[in-house]
């Protein structure tokens, strides 16, 4: 009996809840860490960025207005579904990043746990960052954190899954929506993650994942008038200055990121959640 020929997967973009090819029709070959061909990934273009921003903006009112409890459940569902496909991710992370199985396992486990961590934050962050303000006058004044809006994320180039989760999950936890450019050389876990998102009750358009080059797509995200914040993690350090300058033209919130990729296994903190939240202060008189 001959060996069975496996069914190869076509890796496409994740945009508006669907899996289209790049409008440009472009693809690029993806290899494993040793240079062996794995697949052709869609090579996203600036028009894909444009479409993704439209999808993210369209999804924003619904996602930001969803109850925090609901968002928490959705993010937890992502963890559940990810857990169910743990072996697939271990294999993909292992081949993409050239990790030994054990290391790949711990990386995937950390990624799953990261979703759980952020899932739990959705209905607590307002308690921790909000306030009833003791103003000197006959007013009730309160401050609540609200999601910034559409966030452009240039995902880390090295850490194809855990790093991606760490830059994406906090965006979604706040109620913002995301347009993510995945690692260029290691895009396959990102697309597989898209499949997880698509089957985890994450509404279409809330997370959009484009495979392609940060150097090519980053400037379009940075200059886009309908993008409110930018995470330049995956941009080459030399490109970040120009991205930040572009972003300044629309007063985007630009994350300050370390020159080199950080250790994504380090315990997360509130920093990224805070970056995607705007404090809104409301006043009302107290009277009869």
């Amino acid at each position: 009996m001959s060996d069975r020929i496996s069914v190869a997967k076509t890796y496409k973009l994740y945009l508006g809840g669907k899996f289209p090819r790049s409008e440009s029709g472009r693809v690029y070959p993806v290899t494993d860490s040793k240079g062996k061909f794995l697949a052709n990934a869609a090579h996203a273009s600036r028009k894909d960025v444009r479409d993704a921003v439209v999808a993210a903006r369209k999804a924003f009112p619904g996602w930001s207005a969803a109850t925090a409890y609901n968002r928490g459940q959705v993010l937890y569902r992502v963890a559940e579904v990810l857990e169910g496909r743990r072996d697939q991710f271990i294999a993909e992370v292992s081949s993409s990043e050239g990790l030994a199985t054990k290391k790949a396992e711990s990386t995937v486990d950390a990624a799953i746990d990261r979703w759980v961590w952020y899932a739990g934050w959705t209905d607590k962050i307002a308690t921790v960052l909000g306030a009833a303000n003791p103003v000197a006058g006959p007013y009730f004044s309160f401050t609540v954190p609200e999601p910034t809006g559409v966030v452009g994320v240039l995902a880390p180039q090295s850490s194809s899954l855990l790093g991606l989760v760490e830059v994406l999950a906090p965006v979604l936890a706040t109620g913002s929506t995301a347009v993510v450019v995945s690692s260029a050389e290691r895009p396959l876990p990102a697309i597989t993650l898209s499949e997880v998102l698509a089957t985890s009750d994450v509404p279409g358009g809330v997370a959009n994942i484009l495979t392609g080059r940060a150097a090519e797509l980053g400037p379009w995200l940075a200059s886009h008038g309908d993008v409110n914040a930018l995470d330049p993690t995956g941009a080459a350090p030399a490109d970040r200055v120009e991205l930040a300058r572009e972003a300044a033209n629309t007063v985007k919130r630009v994350l300050t990121v370390p020159e080199a990729e950080p250790d994504w296994t380090a315990a997360p903190d509130l920093t990224r959640l805070r970056r995607y939240l705007e404090a809104k202060t409301v006043w009302h008189p107290l009277g009869v």
Binding site: P138, Y139, P285, L286, G287, V288
Partner: protein, 324 residues
Amino acid sequence: MTATTSTSAAPATPAPLVDATRDDASLRRFLLGLPGVDQVGVEQRAAGLGTRSIKKDAKRWAIDTAISMVDLTTLEGADTQGKVRALAAKAVRPDPERQDTPRVAAVCVYPDMVATAVEALKGSGVHVASVATGFPAGRTSREIKLADTKIAVDAGAHEVDMVIDRGAFLEGRYMAVFEEISAIKAACGDAHLKVILETGELATYDNVRRASWLALLAGGDFIKTSTGKVSPAATLPVTHIMLQAVHDWHVQTGELRGVKPAGGIRTTKDAIKYLVAVHEVAGEAWLTPDLFRFGASSLLNDLLLQRRTQVDGHYSGPDYVTVD
């Protein structure tokens, strides 16, 4: 002082507001449909206007105007004819050594003292105002209230200060309050009717606004804050709301109605704050005793002391003004 009538004698409801008083339901709908009053907002506005700095000529003008707006009042169980005559003398010549001091607008007494006051003030131009309708509580029958009014008017009162039925108002029986004011207005004949809302018992600014409109609809020539027997009596924010009501009434009907804060206004400084409010909330047209009064007793002496300070250029003392 001229006894200008600011409204026609018959309490006819102005055309644009006829619908409001057609029946109980219409009246209720109208009053509850008035814009709300935000407490913090109105108090801030009143406090803000209270910081106006009135100096020199403006202050002198304000003091004289305030004196001419005083309803010099005695409403005590211990009132006697002697007390009323003394007050009348003071009303005509508030500062005997300063003959250019204006006389006050009116002397305000209980109905049984009206005849005494009328006699004492004959020919002076100072009006006699009488409280009536079971003042201050008003907790008596319609018959007695009307009789009380008739006693005052028959004795020669130029002005009647009635109290509204706060119980009925707070029960939401607005038509009952309306009808009672209308009936008293009719009983007043040519006498001017001031309608005391007793705002201290109405508790909210929304109620003050509704009661103001109710009294205006029913034909009150003046709306007056308080009896002076309930705390709080007149306050600046309450007076603001009433001034706003007569302003808006004028915009809608073309008629000029008056406002009288009463009780608790004791100093010239306070009186000037009220005049500033009259000026800026109601409008310049209200800066006349025909349309604005102070219900007060001790205020007059402070106005006189401050008047002397302005005229003489140095501070005066309580022994230089009369105790009556």
